[in-house]
Amino acid sequence: MTHMLTAKGKVRTAELRNKMQELMDRHAGVFRDGMGLVEAAKGIRELKKILAEDLHTDGKERRANPGLTEALELKGSLEIADIIIQAALSRNESIGVHFRNDFPAPKGRRRHSLIKVRKTKIRIRYTGVKSRHKWLKELAPGKLAEKL
């Protein structure tokens, strides 16, 4: 947090935030594809670098400093954006609201993504989905294909 208070770079938080919003809107929105997601991941990495090295904030105080709040919020948003992109990239299928143009159908067993962040590294694990209800089992990817 301290580096944000003494940040004497050139780029304002709002500018970075707008860039992130544009990037996510274009590549990680309703329709996604591998190429776009890779590009978005690259973009987010660049934005993270700018945030760490070339950020500009006007206030130097911890108390009632909206500039600091904004910068911290942006830091969190960038982290989440990165996680969304990485999780979408590693899921080569379309299921629920996650739609990949390059993989338009569900694939294999249904699974949950579990994400762990250590320092700067994002680790993705999967756990199986337990269907408790019969109708949910009927909707499972394999069964649904059989019915159709």
Binding site: R12, T57, D58, R63, A64, P66, G67, E70
Partner: protein, 225 residues
Amino acid sequence: MKEKTWKISVFRFDPLKDTEHRFVKYAIPRSRVRTVLDALIYIRDHEDDTLAFRSSCRQGRCGSCAVHCNGRYGLACEMPLKSGKNTIRPLAQLPVIKDLVVDMEPFWERYESIKPYLVRSSKTAGRNYRNRRELEKKIDCILCGACFSACLMTGKNPAFHGPAAYVALNRFLHDDSDAITGQRLAMVKGENGVFRCHNMFNCNEACPKNVEPAENILEIKKNID
């Protein structure tokens, strides 16, 4: 061609650093900004990110962005900017924390003191809201504090509950299932109670949700004998 701008003058004050408040002038491109809140956000994003103000929903629902602008109180997100000078000040009658952020504690204290919640007894427990329609307008209050600041009595008399509190009180007077109507009326009967209101109707003018606190106060007065 040079782009047209809004002229905006914002109240700046940091009680821990400054001895006196000051007004800082900004010129903001017209094409990007429409309301007072837009202007404040633009200033924070592009001019000076130390400008403190509260905001949340940006659509007149949450009640966190109440300020004084161009001679009236209201929600910054709903107030349009005018050509000429726009002066933005924090809510009056409340201590400033920084710039446009005020300490709402006095407002909440007085609001709490009238018990703004339903108290039921075993007798009233089963009752339904037969008069739900009557309550509709009263529960529109979003507790922004604009009426509190516009009211001259709240500033003069710290024991006066303020318009927002009386709206809540009147809401429970109209509620069939409330069990402590008598206690509620006794609470506001006294010297510093509801009769301190001199019907200036400033609260009605300030209210962004048209709750009409002054009418509510008059209704409470009618109930007291």
